[in-house]
């Protein structure tokens, strides 16, 4: 059995993914900023100038909260899903704990995520919303998002070993989620009968809570937070369970 320094291994794998991703980009981390800025501008233009009115600044901030949350979710999940198949040479040749591979792959998106988080915080301050005590909730919110995405990635990466179509399922699910999560619309316009369903979607709950903290300067709602915590932990536990159930045969199918 593999007996080693798990934390050292995890940090090396995360660094590896990160170095490889950014070493071949001349503008480096700038690309992490470009995507949300472009998307924010386009969505703001379409929804405040073309499709309707409203305050462009308010809308831009609100969209940015949604985009950053959604980007990490979508990118982390899709890179996590293909991680085992992409690292087949490792799985077949080195007896490292298999769980490390998808988790490292999700975590390697965290720096990208942190840069985008910094962008949101800067925009919030620049657009005249101050720092408030409820910002202490932010690490909890983003921490839960990481847990949630790790759980999804554990399940989908393991299934992707047996059914390689899995990555297309994830891609489609991400497209659907972009519309079902209040990224570019406000939570208040959702019809009352759908609200409970929305609140069970961790990504929607994250966006909602993030806007509450950053834009309204209020603490996230208690039941939203408890839903979010339960949904994230259950997803992680389920992902872990699925992974354990099928990991024995990875060697044959990779």
């Amino acid at each position: 059995m593999w007996k080693g320094d798990l934390f050292f291994l995890l940090s090396n794998l995360v660094q590896k993914d990160f170095k490889i991703r950014y070493r071949n980009m001349s503008l480096g981390v700038f690309w992490s900023l470009l995507n949300p800025l472009v998307m924010m501008s386009v969505l703001t233009f379409v929804f405040t100038k073309v499709l309707g009115g409203g305050n462009a600044r308010e809308y831009a901030l609100s969209v940015l909260c949604g985009l950053v949350t959604f980007n990490f979710f979508a990118l982390g999940w899709s890179t996590g899903t293909s991680s085992l198949a992409d690292n087949a040479h490792l799985i077949k040749r080195v007896p490292v704990p298999r769980e490390v591979v998808p988790i490292a792959s999700v975590l390697s998106n965290c720096l990208h995520f942190l840069i985008q988080i910094a962008l949101v915080l800067v925009c919030v301050i620049v657009f005249g919303r101050g720092i408030n005590i409820h910002w202490l909730w932010l690490p909890v919110l983003w921490g839960l998002e990481v847990v949630f995405v790790c759980g999804l990635a554990l399940a989908s990466s393991a299934l992707n070993v047996y059914i390689r179509d899995m990555r297309y399922v994830v891609e489609s699910a991400n497209t659907v989620m972009f519309w079902l999560v209040p990224v570019f619309y406000s939570f208040t316009i959702i019809p009352a009968q759908y609200v409970p369903v929305y609140l069970w979607n961790p990504v929607a709950a994250l966006v909602l809570s993030l806007r509450k903290v950053l834009l309204d300067g209020q603490a996230p709602l208690g039941h939203t937070m408890s839903n979010l915590a339960i949904a994230s932990c259950v997803t992680f536990a389920a992902g872990w369970f699925i992974f354990q159930a099928v990991k024995k045969r990875f060697f044959e199918y990779l």
Binding site: G4, I20, P95
Partner: protein, 243 residues
């Protein structure tokens, strides 16, 4: 003490494992698609004592790599039991886990952690690893600029520095140049003198004889012969030339 214990071990692979598609899986669930299995190992039993060095010989497809992957804990047997005591370093393939875009030094650290070395041990052994590999100033260049011989030297250098109880070497030494082959042979001998267990796969009879006292001959997934390296090699080479 038994370092490695195989008891009636069998291992098979699905024939259609190359087709990981939803369609294949659905046909399986409905029972329409029966996949046949290919047996890579059949009822293999042997022990490896602490401090022994054993050569694994046999033609292509004899099951050598499957056996090594079971020892390394990469795959689970279908039947029988595999028990391994101690820390293993497995060199199953040229620089497995190396990435071409990382520098030699970065790959050394990554590989050390993959093989189970702690952070402190890795950085303490860093100079010695670089020195042993003999790649010199190339250590800060991306791995894709290396020759294949340099990559092996780097991989081998990490493997002997993790201070394993059991070292598995699969035909990788042949790639290094003559000087490095001698250096690595000396390093392997040194490990043997320290009482480490060595499992060695090679097609070169000379290398096998110099390194091991015992040989295990596999053919079609079964142990044909297990004993003194000289006798087993003679029998193996005799049969190979006849066939």
């Amino acid at each position: 003490m038994n370092r490695i214990e195989f008891r009636g071990v069998s291992k098979s692979f699905p024939h259609a494992a190359g087709r990981m598609l939803l369609r294949t899986r659905m046909l399986e669930w409905f029972g329409a698609h029966k996949h046949e299995r290919f047996f890579a190992l059949r009822n293999v039993t042997f022990d490896l004592q602490d401090g022994e060095s054993v050569a694994l010989i046999g033609g292509n497809g004899a099951g050598k790599s499957t056996l090594l992957s079971l020892v390394a804990g990469l795959a689970a047997p279908d039947a029988g039991t595999v028990a391994v005591n101690g820390r293993i370093a497995a060199l199953l393939e040229l620089g497995s886990g190396f990435h071409p875009d990382l520098t030699g030094a970065e790959n050394l650290v990554l590989n050390a952690s993959l093989l189970g070395m702690s952070r402190r041990d890795t950085y303490a052994a860093m100079d010695s690893m670089v020195d042993f590999s003999g790649v010199g100033d190339f250590i800060h260049e991306p791995l894709r600029t290396y020759s294949s011989g340099m990559v092996v030297r780097l991989a081998f250098s990490v493997a002997i520095h993790i201070n394993p109880d059991i070292l598995i070497v699969d035909e990788v030494l042949a790639v290094g140049d003559h000087a490095f082959q001698q250096k690595s042979a000396a390093a392997l001998r040194h490990l043997r003198e320290q009482g480490k267990t060595l499992l060695f796969v090679s097609h070169s009879g000379a290398a096998v004889q110099a390194m091991c006292e015992r040989a295990l001959w596999l053919d079609h997934g079964q142990v044909v012969s297990d004993g003194n390296v000289k006798e087993v090699l003679e029998a193996y080479e005799g049969r190979s030339t006849v066939a």
